[in-house]
Subunit: 341 residues, 2 copies
């Protein structure tokens, strides 16, 4: 097989015959989910159409993905590009309608890797019943981009959308599973660490799980704890609501491998990204039903109540520790792991 | 001023306090156009909401921008990121409602350049009355991305959307101005060419101009001739409609500088990108009114009728030359200029 046939060239991103062939042979066949409008992805038009939903609010979200390494334990940049964006919709209570897929690829990138990435992307979208309707392909020269970057923007419908600012005093705070898996799995997978571990990323679309708790009502706020981890998500919710999040450190579900790596590397698992989790703030009346519903879902078996909302220290997160102490859990300056998502 | 204050660091893309500060000080203040929904950009939530329009079809489009150089005669990557995406909506007959802005920035990138780019982006959006409602910021290390890449995804409303596949025999083909300006201006601006020219990119949002011709009716297809230029746009329209596009080469508006550079470099101006033009296919009854309406707009003063649609050679573009000859204008393999947009 010649170089021209198995590697990306500048012409693959140049809007002509070669780009059309790449898309027709390696991308479009995998993205044939039923489209929500008259002009779809196969039309290869300047954009695509979406029939107006009858009721609700549209929700739009965007994420670029630059994760390193591109293939990691538990997933790859394709899984992540789909789940990362769909999860932003999910935590706003929005069912995905339409997704865009825009890739920037380095010259000489293996087309076989494109196949793998598109397959992962498509599989993750299928799990959320979401259709890609438009896309874009750009190629940069060698050394101008490190492999591949993917932007996914998604449109969903919610009735109504749930923000991250409306926590109420007395509310219960849940997480849908173990914390820090993605960040720690990525760290362990990086060449410089040479760490052998069973740890895999939690990357997954949480929409099917969230869809089951929405009908229960009483959900006041949700957030997916990605960059900056649980610490950033809780601090944002505390600041925006003006309330205090009182968290019991011992209740936060942690895998022993994550705890071990965390101790080894000196990085708190509370500040690294999760890619298949949600923080859910619910009124106390429905908390138990929400928890058991989440726990009944395959993605939510490790879900736990981790705290409550109060007015004790407005805009702050307070962590109750094992030995009975209390300390503030601050907003991190940023996720300690670069290119985590 | 310290390095930390005037250059991008990894923490600026790490989802915590530093990223929040960058956005609050350098991005959000410039993007304060009235939002179309309840949860807007200022909420800094996981996404934003859009109130359901009463009628029409939603149109969604996405484009990543990797133009080189970032600042070029006539615009910069911010102008381009806004215009490029809005123009895809415009040629589908869609008024922009909401836009996302996702940036990938190289470590050490000057924050002053971010300010310039965001200002250009905001100015171009204002010209189309479009609001940014959500965004994303990622930072890659030095040498992992060449400066900055911007994805813009936009949602618009059309009633109904106009595709690029419905040219009819007898239709008239117009272009809204001179061809090849963007591609040739970019080429001339690249360091390796050392060319002195007055040529500037045509980058602009064509929506205000297109909005004026939509009420005239009779528009069967539109396309913005970006990568691959007029040649790619015409070939796509011919293939999709199954019709023949018969183009009079002499009628194609060309600046003398573009013609000159084209001769010098041996690159056809018909195959390089335009970023402020549209190809419009209209029924013959309205062609003159559409033309004069476009010509009355500042962006359309050089608009011209360049040909007609027939059934002579299905799916092909035929170019009638100055000396009376005729030849096929083929689909280019790709735009000859890398990183043109």
């Amino acid at each position: 097989m010649s170089i021209e046939n198995d590697r990306i060239t500048p012409l693959h991103g140049a809007g002509g015959e070669m780009m059309g062939k790449l898309l027709a042979e390696h991308v479009l066949p995998r993205l044939q989910h039923a489209a929500p409008g008259r002009i779809d992805l196969n039309a290869m038009d300047d954009g695509a159409t979406i029939d107006l939903p009858a009721t609700g609010e549209l929700v739009m979200t965007t994420d670029s993905h630059v994760v390193k390494p591109i293939f990691f334990p538990g997933g790859d940049i394709g899984t992540l590009a789909a789940a990362g964006t769909l999860n932003d919709l999910a935590v706003m209570g929005a069912r995905p309608i339409a997704v865009s897929l825009a890739v920037i690829i380095e010259e000489d990138f293996p087309i076989a890797d494109i196949d793998r990435i598109v397959a992962s992307f498509a599989e993750t979208l299928e799990s959320a019943d979401a259709a890609v309707i438009c896309g874009d392909t750009k190629v940069m020269g060698r050394g101008e981009i490190d492999g591949i970057a993917i932007n996914t923007t998604a449109l969903g419908i919610a009735d109504p959308a749930i923000g991250d600012a409306d926590a109420q005093p007395g509310d219960v705070v849940l997480v849908t599973g173990t914390i820090g898996d993605h960040g720690m799995a990525l760290l362990a997978a990086r060449e410089e660490f040479h760490l052998e571990t069973e740890l895999v990323s939690d990357v997954a679309s949480v929409w099917p799980m969230i869809a089951e708790i929405l009908p229960l009502g009483g959900i006041h706020a949700m957030k997916d704890p990605t960059r900056g981890g649980l610490a950033a998500a809780l601090n944002e919710m505390a600041r925006k609501s003006g309330k205090c999040f009182e968290i019991d450190e011992q209740s936060i579900p942690l895998r022993s491998e994550v705890q071990g790596l965390s101790d080894l590397l000196g990085i708190s698992p509370l500040t690294v990204a999760n890619e298949g989790k949600a923080v859910v703030v619910v009124s106390p009346e429905v908390a138990d039903r929400v928890l058991t519903t989440i726990q009944a879902h395959p993605l939510g078996k490790d879900a736990a109540i981790i705290g409550t909302v109060s007015e004790t220290y407005p805009e702050r997160v307070v962590l109750g520790t094992e030995v009975g102490g209390r300390r503030f859990l601050d907003m991190p300056l940023g996720d300690p792991v670069p290119r985590i998502c």
